[in-house]
Symmetry: C2
Subunit: 348 residues, 2 copies
């Protein structure tokens, strides 16, 4: 997931006078808010590099540090819940920094009236997800707000991980000639949450892809692949993630639409709902930029990951620039933009 404070694109408009839902949608308006107000307000460079987390050294340790709040609605959906999402999301942000996730903090904001049995279910889910990802929930905080000032449970997790030696992942390291890999099929999380929220009939067929990605990333590092950049395409979907990397890395990325795996149920749901799957959120997928010569080896590793055979090489980096070009399945090429407005609020 793109760190909310760490992406830049050159947009003149500050994004309005009041907060709208789209300011949290992962698209254009969110980037405007962050780049033109929050980052400068915190004294961070306005033209900062897109990151999933901060990397710094303490003593001999090179650490990654990241945070995300989770406000998904409904709390429970096929394939996951706010608890597994809150663990896996932060585990994955650490993994995208090339770090082995180690420790997580948990901040709970509970709404008065929440059944304690629901909280218990969320806590159990966090424990299970943490065990599966090999991280420890070590510190936390609990706050309660009045009825009508929250929505059941909001969860913040922050994570600390140990960055693997010699690994430096950022869009600026992406270069012409790199292969672009995608670890699996797209669109499952967004459609699963929307279906659960709206009570659509295809709910049972589509489960969120919510999963920990750290083991797969560590394997890529262990087999010696020279990784340039990793990113999980959550809010804003695959298209927005690729545009972020193209803009921050100063490159033109060319994608072959036919190579992007989309399951039949997701494709059908998107057609029914008028959604472009390229902009639908994912929670257990990532894109990897690697040198062309390492692409096949990396692909073999990805096919051993959570999404298995649907992992694919989906394109390449062509030149300096700031664009994403999509070669369509039925011919023609179009430039992709970031998500504009918001497709589905509170997806994570």
């Amino acid at each position: 997931m793109t760190d909310g404070f760490a992406l830049s694109c050159p947009i003149p408009d500050p994004g309005g006078d009041i907060i709208e839902l789209a300011h949290g949608g992962g698209g254009l308006l969110m980037h405007r808010l962050i780049d033109r107000m929050i980052r400068p307000g915190f004294g961070l460079p306005e033209d900062g590099v897109a990151h999933d987390g901060a990397v710094f050294e303490v003593g001999s340790a090179r650490l990654a540090f990241t945070t995300d709040s989770y406000v998904v609605r409904p709390l429970f959906f096929p394939g996951g819940d706010i608890g597994s999402l809150a663990v896996n999301g932060t585990v994955n942000d650490l993994a995208m920094c090339g770090a082995q996730p180690l420790y997580l903090s948990v901040g709970l904001i509970l709404e008065e009236g929440l059944p304690i049995a629901q909280l218990q279910r969320v806590v159990a889910s966090m424990r299970k997800a943490a065990d599966a990802a090999g991280v420890r929930l070590v510190t936390g905080d609990t706050k309660v707000v009045e009825r009508g000032k929250g929505d059941g449970v909001y969860i913040n997790t922050a994570g600390v991980g140990a960055v693997r030696s010699g690994v430096a992942l950022e869009p600026r390291r992406v270069r012409p000639g790199d292969a672009v890999l995608l670890s699996g099929d797209i669109g499952r999380h967004g459609i699963a949450v929307m279906a659960a929220r709206e009570g659509f009939g295809f709910e049972g067929d589509i489960a969120s892809d919510c999963a920990p990605l750290a083991a797969t990333v560590m394997r890529l590092i262990d087999v010696g692949i020279e990784l340039h950049c990793l990113r999980d395409p959550t809010r804003g979907g695959l298209a927005t993630t690729l545009v972020e990397i193209a803009q921050a890395g100063g490159v033109v990325i060319r994608i072959d639409e036919s190579s992007i795996a989309i399951s039949e149920p997701v494709r059908g749901a998107c057609e029914l709902l008028g959604l472009d799957p390229l902009y639908v959120a994912n929670e257990g997928r990532f894109v990897a930029f690697v040198p062309q010569h390492a692409a096949e080896t990396a692909l073999a590793v990805l096919r051993g990951g959570p999404a298995g055979a649907s992992a694919a090489i989906i394109g390449r980096v062509e030149a300096s620039g700031r664009a994403v070009l999509l070669d369509g399945m039925i011919g023609g090429t179009r430039a992709l933009d970031m998500l504009s407005g918001e497709q589905l609020p509170r997806i994570c």
Copy 2:
């Protein structure tokens, strides 16, 4: 601030079926929820030690890691705002672990309709507080929820700090003979927030004590004081904090009420409102347990801290046990309990 997941006391009742405001109040009900459900749910020992954060080693670095969410209402109050609170609160939790605070993450949960100018004011306040405390805001996340699902801004901060070599602070290290020091007068934060919320006339006279405590703690360490336990008495106030330490440390603490500094305006406001200042929240004060022979040196350091001359030696640890005894100003001794119910919701 006491870490919400890290305190234990032997209470049979699980705390009800639904979340009540008191579950976030810092008192008895919060401890029941955490000890009987959240900690066991996360696989942490139910009889864990009270902590303000987790301490672990990565490579050669000994790190402290802590988190808190901030839901204070109103957002702005005399002496601070949700932004300065969110920075200082986490800085202070790291300091209570004996750690030099280094890096903070920021998770923002914004309510649709929030004026961006208000957010800007909060961001500027966080920056100023971070600069004053010598920490860096390095990573973050922004979410937006619909109108009526939040309350302007909720902020989570997590923090990473470097634990000073040779320092290990926990209630179990408190022992009979220790002196109990308090870094300043009590009750300012709770009264300032309540006054701002309710529009009481004494608002202007009482400002929150919200302040960073790390520099004072580092000075205590640097002058060579053998620190046994530090704790900042936030939610639940000084009384609850002392009871937590007595229970977790297995000691009897005797406090001399006349040595506890309370400003005249705070005392007057408490009388007017029927509040016991011992249970009113603080944000820039801490208690320190040190060997008797180091008490005067420690006191001199505390008097150089934010609260200056109001720092005092307020008592001593007498024996093994699990109680806090208060010798009253007008004679008589009473045992203190934790805050029961909740005095003032959303104080931090």
